[in-house]
């Protein structure tokens, strides 16, 4: 708890909106000064060790907090009180990557537009879409409409709804819906009973495909649901394939992935992973 109290002492809630903006300005200026100072003062070797150190401490903190025995009511260990403020802090740091992403996109598309590269009209569409959603999204948000919203909506909200529900959502949905056509065509072309394994796979696919839709249930509905032969109803067979054949296989895969992820996490934690910032520099 002392850590939370310390944080509250160091960062008290802003008494007025003006004070909040002042705090934000100080925080921003302070961060910039700190980053520039570290960049100037530390050479590549120093920067490397700083990142290795921070990565190690962060990994150690979360690992220890999770595995260290807990006691008391509510149950906690000596690190538990730190979890919430540190997690919020990391969320704030992580949110900065959104700004980085936007900056990178603006840079790439801005250059394409300025130099009239092939496909520049796509970059123009990107800027138009981004600014339209940004302007009307923020406008709509700051209208602070009551809940439930009124029957007659103000026009910025209407424009935002058209952009979001009338354009963005259907475009994205339509793009992914095309997959159904490719899957149908690919299944027809690729599924051949060339081997015993392929035949088994096809049989399982047919059972699951038909067992997952009402047509399959209807096809075998002549078998009474309470009879000993009910197992042979397609929906039951499909469920059996998923729960009794698929589950052990998936469990094996999950275990394999977990072991791999553990090894990978260890390498990242100890900054041993190749292809990170350091090996690119060297």
């Amino acid at each position: 708890m002392w850590f939370s109290r310390l944080l509250q002492r160091l960062f008290p809630p802003a008494p007025t909106p003006a004070a909040l903006y002042l705090y934000l300005a100080f925080a921003l200026a302070g961060s910039i000064v700190l980053i520039v100072a570290l960049h100037r003062l530390l050479g590549p070797r120093g920067r490397r060790w700083l990142i290795v150190f921070v990565t190690f401490i962060a990994g150690l903190f979360f690992g220890l907090e999770y595995f260290y025995p807990v006691h008391g009511d509510p149950e906690k260990n000596f690190l538990t009180d730190w979890i919430e403020p540190v997690s919020v802090m990391l969320t704030v740091v992580g949110a900065l990557t959104v700004g980085l992403g936007i900056y990178s996109l603006f840079q790439v598309h801005g250059r394409a537009l300025a130099q009239r590269r092939p496909g520049w009209h796509n970059s123009l569409a990107f800027f138009l879409a981004t600014f339209a959603m940004l302007v009307f999204g923020l406008w709509e948000h700051y209208l602070h409409l009551p809940q439930p919203p009124p029957d007659v909506l103000p026009w910025p909200k209407v424009v935002y709804e058209i952009l979001f529900n009338g354009l963005f959502a259907p475009l994205q949905a339509a793009t992914f819906s095309l997959l159904a056509f490719y899957i149908a065509s690919a299944a027809y072309r690729a599924f051949r009973v060339r081997t015993g394994e392929a035949t088994l796979m096809m049989a399982a696919a047919f059972i699951v495909m038909l067992g997952q839709v009402p047509f399959g249930a209807w096809l075998t509905s002549f078998i009474p649901a309470d009879s000993p032969a009910a197992f042979f109803r397609l929906e039951m067979l499909g469920e059996w394939v998923l729960r009794w054949l698929n589950t052990p296989a998936q469990r094996g895969i999950i275990f394999g992935i977990a072991v791999g992820a553990l090894a990978m996490s260890l390498r990242i934690w100890l900054s041993l992973e190749r292809g990170t910032f350091f090996s690119e520099q060297s």
Binding site: S177, Y188, G216, L242
Partner: protein
């Protein structure tokens, strides 16, 4: 170099041009949307598990519905979310929507909840709320487990969640009676299981797109998931259970006949393959 033209019947039925396949599929979809042949839908065990998990939540606890989906999977995840919301309202359970990724899901789910709330006369902030999109994946979960008002901050509309009546007495994850994950993304379930269900024993249920559902059957088997909605099928089953047959039921009519078409096409292709094989004396054609 272009592919050789099919000369025999067996070659022809193995090489139906793809635009005919697309046309056939589009035809089936349009036919079933305009003139649906409705077949009975019976709720499966995993779907019943979701409904029972919602009904079993104590009245003084919240249900958290994480809507980690966007328009790309909306055909399945939209009706899933909608039927889960109906199940919450019908069982008079208080629920909140939240979203970790992609951010679009929180707005789409909010529209669905608003529509359902009108039907049940439910009030925002009292019977349901929207915690909004929260960036930070694991960090958000770890923080909200310890202190929900601090971790969530403001709701979808910019109001501090601590000021909402629904949040009265809600301090940490112990006041959450069920988390329902509705997602088209992998790794979300593992996060919730590792950081919430495992350490705090908070019950979990989930709704997945049909393609990703098979991966999560082991968690159903181990009772880490109390129930699971599998794609549009699961949504349609829950729609039937809450007596609100809607989009998912319509989708299942279409999907039924689309599956039949695909099975028929695969059988046709294989018939051609077996004929060709017979012609070549059992060798691979």
């Amino acid at each position: 170099m272009s592919a050789p033209q099919p000369t025999t019947l067996s070659d022809r039925i193995q090489q139906i041009p793809r635009h005919y396949v697309y046309l056939l599929l589009a035809g089936v979809v349009v036919w079933q949307l305009l003139f649906p042949i409705r077949l009975p839908i019976t709720p499966s065990v995993p779907t019943r598990g979701v409904y029972q998990a919602i009904a079993a939540v104590p009245d003084d606890k919240l249900i958290v519905i994480t809507t980690d989906w966007d328009a790309s999977t909306q055909a399945e995840t939209g009706p899933q979310t909608q039927s889960i919301i109906h199940a919450c309202f019908q069982n008079k359970k208080k629920f909140v929507i939240m979203n970790l990724q992609p951010p679009m899901g929180v707005k789409l789910a909010n529209d669905l909840a608003q529509e359902a709330a009108k039907e049940y006369g439910a009030a925002y902030g009292v019977d349901w709320a929207n915690w909004g999109y929260k960036y930070g994946y694991e960090n958000v979960l770890m923080a909200l487990a310890k202190n929900i008002p601090n971790a969530i901050g403001d709701d979808f509309y910019g109001t501090p969640v601590a000021e909402l009546p629904i949040m009265e007495g809600v301090t940490d994850i112990h006041q959450v009676g069920l988390v329902v994950i509705v997602t088209g993304l992998s790794a979300m379930t593992e996060m919730w299981i590792g950081l919430i269900q495992g350490p705090y024993k908070t019950p979990l249920a989930a709704a997945y797109t049909a393609v990703m559902a098979p991966i999560y059957y082991p968690y159903l088997d181990s009772d880490q998931l109390k129930g699971m909605l599998v794609g549009a099928k699961g949504a349609a089953e829950l729609e039937v259970m809450v007596d609100r047959p809607g989009k998912a039921v319509a989708i299942m009519n279409v999907q039924s006949w689309a599956h039949v078409l695909i099975v028929a096409l695969i059988l046709l292709g294989n018939l051609g393959y077996l004929f060709a094989r017979g012609r070549t004396g059992g060798r691979q054609p």
